[in-house]
C-alpha cells in the first residue's frame, strides 16, 4: 500500500471515528457507516487539511456522485500531489 493510501485511511478513521476502517479502491459511500452528503463535506475538509491540497468546486461534485469511490478519491488526490510538469 502506498503512503497516500495509508494517510487517507487515517483521515477516514478520524472523520468517521472508526479505527477499524480499511480502505480499498472499490469502496463507496455505501460501505462506510456515516458517509453521507454532509460527512462528505467533512471528509473533503479533512483531506484538504491533511494533504494541503484544494479540490475545485466541480471535483467536489464529481466525488459526490454515486459512481465515485475511494479509487476516484485516491486518483484525484495523487494527481494533486504529483509535482507539476
Amino acid at each position: 500500500m502506498t503512503e497516500v493510501h495509508d494517510q487517507l485511511q487515517d483521515v477516514f478513521r478520524d472523520v468517521f471515528s472508526d479505527p477499524s476502517i480499511v480502505l480499498n479502491e472499490k469502496m463507496t459511500a455505501e460501505d462506510v457507516d456515516g458517509w453521507d452528503s454532509l460527512t462528505h463535506i467533512n471528509l473533503i475538509i479533512a483531506i484538504e487539511k491533511r494533504f494541503r491540497v484544494k479540490f475545485a468546486t466541480a471535483e467536489i461534485s464529481r466525488l459526490k456522485e454515486d459512481s465515485a469511490n475511494v479509487g476516484s478519491l485516491l486518483q484525484a488526490l495523487t494527481g494533486k500531489l504529483q509535482p507539476s510538469k
Binding site: 471515528s17 454532509l38 463535506i41 467533512n42 475538509i45 487539511k49 468546486t57
Partner: protein, 666 residues
Amino acid sequence: MTDIVVEHRPEAAMDLVEKATLQEAKGASNLNAAVERCKAANPGERGAAFRALVEAFKGAAEAERFEELAAALRSALTPVLDYTSVQTLQRFYRLLPAEVKGPAKLKLAILGGFTTHQLKDFIELYLFAAGIPAELYEADYGVFRQEILDPSSELYRFAPNRIFLATHWRNLGHLPALSDDPQRVSDLLEREFADWSQLWQTAHDRLGCQIVQNNFDTPAWKSLGNHEARHPAALLRYIADMNRLLADRAPSYVTIHDVAGLAADIGRRAWGDERFFLHAKMPCAPEHLVNYAHNVSSVIAAELGLSRKCLVLDLDNTLWGGVIGDDGIGGIRVSQGDAEGEGFLSFQRYAKALKMRGVILAVCSKNNEQTAREVFEKHPDMVLRLEDISCFVANWTDKAANLRSIAKQLNIGLDSLVFVDDNPAERSIIRQLVPEVAVPEVSTDPIDYIDALERHQYFQVASLGAEDFKRTDYYRANAMRGEIATSAGGMEDFLRSLEMTATIGPVVPATLERTTQLINKSNQFNLTTRRRSAAEVMALMEDPGWVTVTASLSDRFGDNGLVSVVLGHIEAESLEIDTWLMSCRVLKRGLEQFVLNYLCDLAQARGLKYVRGGYIPTPKNDLVRNHYADLGFDATRSDDGGRTSWELPLANRTPLNTFIKMGSSR
C-alpha cells in the same frame, strides 16, 4: 551554584501533598488524564493525543460511564479545536442520555439565511460545555422571514425563549446599484433596517423572547478597489453602514452578534470559502464554524450570567520576563526599549483594559509577598499597579489552595476565575485539582497570552453600563469599608458611619439594562434564581399585575449603583415575590430590610394583607436560605428539595430599623 538555583525556584518543585492529590485525581479518571494530554500536547503530538482521547471516550461510552463522559466532554470542548475534532466530539455528545445532559435551560430557535446544520450542532455542543443544556429548533434553509411572519409556523409551535437569526450578507434585501446617489443609498439603508426591525418586532410581539441577530460579514472582493470604503453605493461601504445602524439602533430585546468581527479576526479572504457555499450553502469556510458557534454560545452564556469575572495572573514570566527572586527589580524584563519587555507590557495593558471594563484582576504567584509587591510599587515601567489588583496572593502555598482562597476573598465562585500561568506544570495541576477554574494553554511568548484569552471569550460581554466601568472601584472601596468595620466599635456604629442613602423605585427604561444584567448574573443573594431577558422584564414593567422594584445604594465612599431587584405579582390579598436578589457587594448593610419596608408600604397602599415569598435552593444561594426567617416572615411550606415558602402579615407591622436614608427618587 546549583544550590542557589534550587533555593530560588520553588515554582518548579511541586510539594508532596500536591503530587499525592494529583495521583488520586488521575486514578479516579483516565478520561480527565486523556483530556489533559490533549490540551497540553504540542502541535506534533496533537493528532495522537486526540486519537487516544477518542479511544478513552469510546471505552467510557461502551461502559455507559456517561456522567464521567459528559464532564470530560465539557472540559475537552475548547474553541481551539479543529472542525474534524469538534465533529468527532459531537458524536459522543449525541450518545449522552437526556438525563445526563440535564433539563434544557434554553429553548433556542435557529433561523438561518444559510445552511445552519453544522453551526446548530456546534452551538448546541458549546452551550452544553458552558453548562447550558438546550433544546434547539432549526428552520429550513432560507425561510427565516416566512417562519417569523407566518403565525402558524413551526417557530411559534416550538415557542423558543431565544431566537438566533443566523443571516449573512447575501440575505440583505436592498443592495444599492453603483450608480445610486447618496440620498437613494441612504433610503435603501433605512428600508433595509426597517425590514429587519419589522421581523424582530413581529417575533418579539408574539414570543416576547430575546433575539440574537447576526450583523453582516462582507464578501472578499472589492469591485471599486481602493474606493470601496468611500463610495456610498459600494457593497462593502453599504454593509459597513448597515452594521453601524444595527449597532446604534437595535432595541434592547435584540442582541447583535458581531459576525463581521469574527470574519475580520480570520481575514476576509480566509473567512469565506465559496466552494462550500456553492455546495452546501455554508456561510464561511467550515473550519471557522468552530469559532463561530463558540462565539454565539459565549454571547448567550454571557446573557445568562455565565461569563467569568476575574483574571488571575501569575507573575514571573507571565507579567514580566525573568524571576524577581533571582533577577531582582533591575534584572526582570518589563521595560520600554526591550522587545520582550514590551511584549509583557502589552499583555499588562490588555489586562488593564479588561480591568477598566469591570473584569477583576488578581495575582497568584509563588514568591515572597514583599518582593512581589515591590515590582508593582517601584518598577517605573509597570503598567499594572497595586491598585489594579483586587486580591494579591504571593506565598509558597500551592496554587490550588491559593485560587480557592482568592475566590473566597472576592466572594465569587471558582467557576468565575481564569488563571494565566506560563508554567505548564502549574496549569496542568490546576486543571486537574480545581477543574472549575479556566486555565488556557499558552506558549512561553507573552504576545500569545492575549490571543489565548481572546479566543476563549471567557469575559464575554452581554451589556455594558456605567456600573461595569466602576466595578473594580467597588472592590477597592469595599476593602476600605472593611477596615472601618474592624476599627469602628460596633456594627451599628459602622453602618451609621457609612452615611448610606438609597434610591428605590420601579424599573424604568434607564435601569432596564442593569436590572436585566443583575437578574441574569446574581447567583448568591438570589432567592429564586429566575433568569429573564430584557424583553421579558419589559413585559413585566408594562403589566399592571406586576410590581418591579430596583434599589441603588450610595455611601460616603462612593456610589454602589443599582444593586437590588425585586419582582412580584399581585394575587388576591398578597404581594407574591417572584424574584428577590441583591449584589453581594452590599451584603450586611441593611438594604434588604430597607427594601422590605418599601415593599410592605407598597402592598399596604394597594390594600393587600400579606407579602409572600419563596426560596429555591441552588448550589450557590445558600447565603439566603434564612432570608425570609431573618426578616420576620412565617414559614408556610417546605418540601424535600429544600424549597420553602414564607408569609408576612401586614397588619400591625412595624417597619424594620435601618441606617439608610431614602434618597430623592430617580
